[in-house]
Amino acid sequence: MPVKVSMTVNGKPVTAEVEPRTLLATFIRETLRLTGTHVGCDTAQCGACTVHLNGRAVKSCNILASQADGADVVTIEGIARADGTLHPMQEAFRQHHGLQCGFCTPGMVMSAIDLVKTTPNPTEQQIREGLDGNLCRCTGYHNIVKAIQAASAAMR
């Protein structure tokens, strides 16, 4: 039996009828056509699908769309300003080349914003440990860590 889900995604209210088994990642990518949220491992290990649910980073491939009913969801498409100015975390990833192939980047950025919010001035060690839910198969972690350090200063 289909269920109705309503939520705010990137500030815009959306409503749709979905199968109960629809994952939040599927809803975001296929129903809303917001394909910046990536599905990497599809087993809740790699973190590429990370979005913010009521301000907290979560893995959208491991959550039902129904679980986000009534919630405020922000995806990678929703963090830059309306005029196109990048979020300080995006800008820092750009400046420090915090990516190689770029597949993990949306999840890294969303996770890193949560990390800096809960640990405002993280050490390198705290960043490395705080990113343990995000995998970069290019192993490009060094510049990701540098980018997050720079962004944490910019976000203060």
Partner: protein, 264 residues
Amino acid sequence: MYQFNYHKPASLADAAAALAKNPDAKALGGGQSLIASMKLRLSQPSDLVDLSGIAELRGIKADGGGVTIGAMTRHAEVAASAEVKKAIPALAALAAGIGDRMVRNMGTLGGSLANNDPAADYPAAVLGLGATVNTNKRKIPADQFFKGMYETALEAGEIITSVTFPAPKKAAYVKFRNPASRYALVGVFVADTAGGPRVAVTGAGPGVFRVPEMEKALAAKFSPESVAGVKVKADGLNSDLHASAEYRAHLVTVMAKRAVAAAG
């Protein structure tokens, strides 16, 4: 994932009724284990009863020196809670080390306990602190709650509402993580409680268990040397490609020693 019907009751009574009506229904906490196992078609509930709409299952309150934590409280909330940090810092630290950031933002205390994964962290704290698991039907002492791999004392339709953790004199949890999955190969929760020292081990066996020999040694003297000489038998411990039963048995003593040292 197989098809299922989704329910989101607003009250505990409605949740219990929905579970009672459908024998193959399952309660949904944060879903960080359940959704993953359903995606792999390892689990096929006819109905999911999402408990996230029930306000009384959320929250943390200081309780006679200890804390009572609602079943739907997220790991990240326990890790950040001033009440938990004050009463039982080891419990806040344990919650801060579960899974990863995103899992901690969704995963719940009740969900972890009801699932009773043999490598889960929370069961070690519940057993190690001698906590009480409160359900919609009764209060279950930790020593009677865990029944082996993925099994608990919960009956059909029984829902965990909260857990009451008494504050110990001191406690610590130390785990040896699998370098890839980050799950506890072995985790040891050590507590000096009002009823004497308790040592609870997760990850090593089919379910969380206590080590009476270590508890006795700690009662005589609460110091790392007391447990250093206590060996756990490898018989019945988990053996897989990550670690043999013998290696896990060895790790129990090493982690216990470190936990006692960390408890101070």
